[in-house]
Symmetry: C2
Subunit: 111 residues, 2 copies
Amino acid sequence: MKIGELAEKTGVSRDTIRFYENKGMLTEVTRPFEWNNYKDYGEENIKRIQIIKYLQRFSFTLRECKELIDQKNASPDECPNKSKAFQKKLSLIEAQIQELQETRDALIKLI
Amino acid sequence: MKIGELAEKTGVSRDTIRFYENKGMLTEVTRPFEWNNYKDYGEENIKRIQIIKYLQRFSFTLRECKELIDQKNASPDECPNKSKAFQKKLSLIEAQIQELQETRDALIKLI
DNA sequence: ATAAACCGTAGAGTATAGTCAATGGTCAAG
DNA sequence: CTTGACCATTGACTATACTCTACGGTTTAT
């Protein structure tokens, strides 16, 4: 699969794919042809990019996405650190909500 | 008032003061001495920096702080655009809360 | 055969709000 | 009179997640 096809299938730009690739977040990227230097992106990368997009919805950073992806590959039973990471992210989001609510209340008092 | 004194009185660093100055957020900065090139920061800047810190609590950006400060100088009756800006900021914060709450709920369902 | 569409790399730019380092000059205390 | 504390300027660096440009080579369609 060439980069354009992967871009189309995932809905992210070529540039973004190369960006992820440079960060070491993709897998099975080869250069199968001798007469050009085009790369081939394995099917697995469709799922990887979907996972990234999914995790980003919960405000995971790319660094965190990479950690989770790497861990998942390390242990076939997907769970232990994953749910810990989700719990942690949940706490963070709740703290942000709290802080914003306090700011909002202060603002309301002001107006 | 030299920069060090202003820094001490406001609790922000010299670097930050120079940063604000470059952004045109300070006033009455003169160079009253011929034998050195030390600057003199007018008393007014204490209040300016306090206003900036105050507005930042409500997540106003420096650009917005500058606009508000400039407007305030334009019209001695402080109110009209100011309260509009605060209303707008309030809506934004409430939208952020909303979004974070939705993310949180999605996360909770997931866990 | 040629133009459009694609591919690769490298490096710069975007936004925010500062912070840090280097350089050189100045002031105050002992 | 020298040491330490202060001042000014310039430019680079931080983090995040891309996006864009420039350059040159390749493939595909007409």
